[in-house]
């Protein structure tokens, strides 16, 4: 990546648009309210603010990297274009029939999410390719012409094409695209063999439909944004953060907007990975907790864990299966409904439940004094002494602790015969336990043991809960970086140019075909490298090879990484050895006597990661002095006398022993009695278990 004098990172979130300008290693950042009607306005506004503070003009910006939740929101709010689907005859309802199951077994009134396109917008044509990629029924071009007549008559502006087994043989999808291009040149076309060439028709069709659905909207937005920025004097190229944690050109983004989904949280994971690199940490758990949700991601060897499919727009308590699957390369995160605004209640079993319902910013937690009368996580934090009512959000807001107590008592305490403080303790413990459980399950699914992990905590609410979470997870060390409030936007500036190409092709190890594999992986490498080269003409490009393997007969593949040498001179014995090594790590033992198979092939091309100077972290050499305060320490089960510090007053090497509270404008860091923290030279607060 060419280094530029000034780079701008922009993250459009649900509430705020975060803008960070970095120049010669120094950062200036701002948060402006997201302007839904014309999101580019907030960007322009924020850009001018940070440019003014840095003393440069927009023309002095060398590169802009942008991530946005607009794509996600368009899917959640169903604000996409008038879109049609063309699919194989006999399979009109794939995106509606889903997995034919109920994601919640115990709700007689369950309703399933509507597909993005209702049935009358889904058209079929006679054609069929089999599981070997051979054409069994040639595409009926007359039928395609007839469907295009219908599409023209109805005035669809975007069309998705998804045919059975097209990931093996895209010829029919391309022929349909050609007919559309000839007949309806103004209609946007997305074909599944390009958007998501992976097996499993429900995921692939849904992904191509989602891409088509948001394509006109995103293309128009990106076009406007580019024009507006140029109008303001910006002369540099603009890139987009994608869900896999890298950046792509504005052109690629407009063609494959579905790859922008969840790009904001991906930026957060990249931010954490960068800090991991700074400290030379190979096992990191990133913990991002905001107002409504908490996101947890595993970062191994300074690389966030990725996945090939994820779910957006969950409609039912964040429950697995209640959203729509999108199969694209993505940073693998668990998201749970636990944030500062998450509301608590008591259920029929007299158990305290927290979230996923959130008080949002209006009315907000009870302590905001805006009419909220149900207790939120923030209310519990306030009553437990973790927040300073007179100095919230840098003193911009005064919190009403009496309202918090009243809400805690009426909703929880009166039912469970607890005083307000015990109710707050219960609420905080339940939400922390929920997050800890999500982290544990995620770790187990990935064959990881969290006890030798380091946590990196960011987002407004994370530093309040990170210490307790570490205690619950047996995690000994936690870093709270500076700038945690705009972590995603900073992450964008750290992301490499990258593109991951995937292909589903079955191969049993007993039918291992080295020449075919070399050819396939070379094709994928060329495709991925081509995308990256279009963004960056000079940097060297690295390719990472990955295959997904399983024992024949299993349903879950595990990713197996190969070195370039292993990929380019493929040998069955090497593949098997790498697979068994990873399988044993995940599940404890290998299974003897079974054939194994490869299902998906993947090549990720990236520019080299920025070389990160290692920070010189120390154990601290000065005990900082702070004012008196007190908070409830759940591990001790009682209120403890503590010291309060202002983060801005701490300098490198300062040591603060818990129990302590460290305040800053964007958040508050709780140092439990079991922990000591050191202010490191890069500004991170380094919480560690007391010896």
């Amino acid at each position: 990546m060419k280094s530029a004098a000034a780079r701008l990172g922009v993250d459009i979130g649900g509430t705020f648009t975060d803008v960070v300008l970095e120049r010669n290693g120094a950062q200036v950042s701002t948060k402006v309210l997201t302007t839904y009607a014309a999101p580019e306005n907030a960007i322009i506004d924020g850009m001018h603010q940070v440019c003014a503070r840095a003393g440069i003009t927009p023309a002095g910006i060398g590169q802009i990297i942008h991530g946005t939740t607009l794509a996600t929101n368009a899917l959640i709010e169903r604000r996409g274009a008038k879109t049609a689907l063309i699919t194989t005859e006999g399979f009109r309802d794939v995106i509606e029939m889903r997995t034919e199951s109920r994601f919640e077994q115990y709700d007689l009134n369950l309703t399933l999410p509507e597909p993005l396109l209702p049935r009358q917008m889904r058209f079929t044509v006679p054609e069929r390719v089999n599981a070997r990629g051979e054409v069994m029924i040639p595409l009926d071009i007359d039928a395609v012409e007839a469907v295009v007549d219908r599409i023209a008559e109805a005035g669809f502006v975007s069309v998705a094409v998804g045919l059975i087994h097209s990931y093996l043989n895209p010829a029919h999808e391309r022929m349909i695209r050609d007919v559309l291009a000839r007949r309806l040149p103004d209609v946007a076309v997305s074909i599944s063999s390009e958007v998501s060439p992976q097996m499993r028709e429900y995921e692939r069709f849904n992904t191509v439909v989602a891409n088509a659905y948001i394509k006109p909207l995103m293309a128009s937005y990106l076009g406007r944004l580019e024009a507006r920025l140029q109008g303001e004097g910006v002369a540099c190229r603009i890139f987009l953060m994608h869900s896999g944690g890298g950046i792509i050109s504005i052109r690629n983004a407009a063609d494959f907007p579905v790859r922008l989904v969840e790009s904001g949280p991906a930026g957060g994971a990249v931010f954490a990975a960068h800090i991991a690199a700074r400290y030379g940490l190979d096992k990191v758990l990133s913990f991002d907790m905001g107002g409504t949700t908490a996101k947890i991601c595993l970062i191994r060897n300074q690389t966030p864990k990725t996945s090939r499919v994820f779910e957006v727009a969950r409609t039912y308590r964040f429950k697995k299966g209640s959203g729509m699957p999108i199969s694209i390369p993505v940073i693998d995160m668990v998201e749970i409904g636990a944030g500062g605004g998450s509301l608590a209640h008591v259920d029929a079993m007299r158990q305290i439940r927290v979230g996923p319902e959130s008080a949002g910013s209006e009315p907000g937690p009870a302590c905001y004094g805006r009419g909220g009368d149900r207790p939120a996580v923030t209310d519990a934090d306030l009553v437990l002494g973790k927040l300073d009512p007179g100095n919230f959000a840098g003193g911009s807001m005064t919190l009403d602790i009496a309202a918090s107590r009243a809400a805690l008592s009426s909703t929880l305490g009166d039912v469970l015969d607890m005083d307000a403080q015990t109710a707050a303790f219960g609420l905080a413990e339940v939400v922390d336990e929920n997050m800890a459980n999500a982290a544990r399950v995620h770790a187990v699914e990935n064959g990881e043991d969290l006890s030798d992990y380091t946590m990196i905590a960011f987002g407004g609410a994370a530093p309040l809960h990170a210490g307790r979470l570490c205690e619950k997870l047996g995690v000994a060390r936690c870093l709270v970086p500076p700038g945690a409030g705009v972590g995603s936007a900073i992450g964008f500036l750290r992301a490499p140019f990258s593109f991951e190409a995937n292909r589903s092709v079955y191969m049993r190890l007993s039918d291992f075909d080295g020449a075919r594999i070399r050819e396939l992986l070379t094709e994928l490498r060329d495709e991925a490298t081509g995308f990256v080269r279009s963004c960056d003409a000079e940097s060297p490009i690295q390719a990472e090879f990955k295959v997904y393997m399983r024992y024949s007969g299993q349903g879950w593949e595990i990713p197996v990484t190969l070195s370039e040498a292993q990929a380019m001179a493929p040998e069955a014995a090497t593949f098997l050895a790498r697979f068994e090594e990873d399988y044993a790590r995940l599940f404890g033992r290998t299974v003897s006597g079974m054939d194994s198979e490869i299902t998906v092939w993947s090549v990720n091309a990236t520019t080299p990661p920025e070389t990160v100077p290692r920070t010189v972290d120390g154990d601290g050499d000065r005990d900082a002095t702070g004012g008196d305060c007190a908070f409830f320490d759940p591990a001790i089960g009682d209120t403890v006398a503590a010291k309060r510090h202002d983060r801005a007053d701490l300098i490198a090497g300062d040591r603060v022993a818990g129990p302590a509270i460290i305040t800053e404008a964007e958040t508050t860091v709780i140092v439990p009695s079991s922990r000591t923290t050191v202010r490191q030279p890069d500004g991170c607060l380094d919480l560690r278990s007391k010896p």
Partner: protein, 567 residues
């Protein structure tokens, strides 16, 4: 100091998380499609007396009570004095496990500081246990496969190699089954490790305290719900196809002050074929029906299940004793909820749905090189099992779910994955218009499926369908759902159950049943009728005949569809 209320709240959450993790590990390591794709499995944690503390919510309610009872059988058979750290126990006993030989249940004792503190158990449906293969065709359980009585799979960490050799020698896919047995053992081990961590964190010597907390709160919550019901009694009844002769299921549901009794007296006697249901499995689905109706959010455990009493006379299709054939006991099991709802609706109207497709629409294809002419070189035999669903019954306030499993919760397989599993071609899998019973709320649509073999293959299709002659019946004036249909593409008729030969080049055309409607079709919201017509859930004919839509309305909707409007 005993743990605080807050600590117990945290521990209960943790135990639920532990069993979910245990189940997840099983899904990821299992070999049988029924487990890994369809989610036909269960996992739970128990106290030292074998009382279930928590259970993972998985694809199948059928395992709920069966699992809850199973551990007590293991304690009795193995003997506490004979239990040691490192032990793993196993069975596929239909009567002491979960209802047929294809379900293996594995129980692992959990020792903390060398004291037995509890158990982990899990169950999974495996693809093959030998015998005649998965189907209804056996006349006794002896023909249905290998029987493994409750015994040690591992003794102090040493796996019983003799058992494995017997297993390997008796089943069609030995590697898969042995792989699944290990997967079951591994998932319990994961649960055990996490329980040990929790007990250390909270400094617990045993589980008595947390068990009491869970049971007290669950019992109170369940009894509160029962107390809110009218103290009365009602009967329900339903007749379905069966194998050779129709089966009638009858139940009397009686609400007592502190329990609900479901008595299946009057149900059909044993069937000659393998569609009989052991009582454990009947209990599971009867209990599921009542729980989902009155206490859906109360987790399954010893105390929350105890107030649901299920009784049935011996030698009936819902209480089949050894050695009755029981391989397809799920068919009767899946119809139990509709029967219980039929009674419950008379006690508390307006809660439960109309009848639905009920049992899953499953079939297995046994493919082999064609025998009537030379087969292609390299052609191999293959077994392909698929899970599919008809429509669910209309709910009082919502339409039934289209092509969605109920009461089972299993998933279908992607057709692209199925076509990789063997030389099959699925020609069609899509919604079946007009199959949902009409009503104020409409029954869920069934689906069409057409299947065949690749060039050069012929096959047997083992059908496990029902509702051919007995479609789902409407409630309160609602219409019936459409019946199941099955035939070859040249018109050759086929039966809803049993193994049937399909020659080379022929396809099997199936239409799976729709759910029944609820309430009078005349009362249906006009906007919903228009929507249904625009989407093609109903035809213009049904819109006019059953819902009274005028020709002008129909023409207007068809025009709107041509304009690409959502309607």
């Amino acid at each position: 100091m005993s743990p605080t209320n807050v600590a117990y709240q945290v521990m209960w959450n943790r135990l639920i998380s532990i069993v979910e993790e245990q189940a997840q590990a099983l899904v990821r390591t299992a070999f049988s499609t029924s487990v890994r794709e369809a989610g036909d499995l269960s996992a739970g944690v128990y106290d030292d007396r074998g009382r279930m503390l928590a259970q993972a919510v998985t694809g199948t309610p059928g395992h709920v009570n069966a699992m809850a009872d199973a551990v007590a059988h293991f304690i009795r058979r193995i003997g506490r004095g004979n239990m040691h750290p490192g032990d793993v126990y196993i069975t596929n006993d239909p009567w002491e496990g979960t209802g047929h030989l294809h379900d293996f249940t594995v129980v692992t004792p959990s020792f903390h500081h060398n004291v037995l503190v509890g158990f982990f158990a899990c169950t999974a449906h495996v693809v093959d246990v030998g015998g005649r293969g998965f189907g209804a065709d056996a006349a006794s359980v002896y023909e249905e496969g290998l029987y493994v009585p409750i015994m040690k799979f591992a003794d102090r960490g040493m796996v019983d190699e003799t058992l494995l050799r017997i297993v390997r020698g008796n089943v069609r896919e030995p590697d898969q089954l042995v792989g699944d047995m290990y997967a079951l053992a591994t998932c319990n081990e994961i649960g055990h490790r996490r329980l040990t961590e929790m007990m250390t964190e909270f400094d617990l010597a045993d589980l008595a305290g947390i068990a009491g907390f869970i049971f007290d709160n669950s019992r109170r919550a369940t009894l509160d719900r029962i107390a809110a019901l009218p103290r009365t009694s009602a009967t329900g009844e339903m007749t379905v196809d069966g194998f050779d002769v129709p089966i009638t299921l009858k139940v009397r549901v009686t609400i007592h002050e502190d329990r609900i009794v479901s008595d299946f007296t009057g149900s059909s006697g044993l069937d000659k074929k393998g569609i009989n249901c052991p009582l454990v499995y009947t209990k599971a689905y009867a209990c599921y029906a009542l729980k989902v109706a009155i206490a859906p959010e109360i987790p399954n455990n010893h105390a929350s299940l105890l107030p649901f009493e299920i009784v049935a006379p011996d030698n009936t299709i819902v209480n089949a004793p050894h050695p009755a054939p029981v391989a397809l006991r799920h068919i009767v099991g899946h119809f139990v909820p509709d029967t219980v709802f039929n009674a419950f609706d008379k006690i508390v109207p307006g809660v439960v749905p109309a009848e639905g497709a009920g049992c899953l629409c499953n079939f297995q294809m046994s493919l082999r090189p064609r025998s009537d002419a030379p087969a292609p070189p390299g052609a191999r035999r293959a077994e392909v099992l698929t899970f599919n669903s008809g429509g669910s019954g209309a709910r009082p306030g919502h339409d039934g779910l289209n092509a969605t499993a109920f009461p089972s919760g299993v998933m279908t397989m992607p057709i692209e994955a199925t076509e990789h599993a063997g030389p099959v071609i699925i020609w069609r899998k899509e919604l079946r218009p007009d199959s949902g019973g009409v009503g104020k709320t409409r029954g869920g649509l069934g689906q069409f499926m057409t299947v065949g073999a690749m060039q050069g293959y012929e096959f047997d299709l083992s059908a496990m369908l029902d509702r051919g002659d007995h479609p789902a019946r409407g409630t309160r004036g609602g219409g019936d759902g459409a019946p199941t249909m099955i035939a070859q593409d040249d018109g050759t008729p086929m039966r809803v159950k049993g193994k049937q030969f399909v020659p080379h080049g022929r396809k099997v055309v199936m239409a799976f049943p729709g759910g029944a409607g609820y309430g009078d079709a005349a009362a249906r919201d006009r906007a919903m009728i228009r929507r249904d017509l625009a989407r093609g859930y109903i035809s213009a004919e049904v819109a006019a005949r059953d819902y009274g839509l005028s020709p002008e309305d129909i023409a207007e909707i068809e025009a709107a569809v041509r304009r690409g409007e959502a309607v």
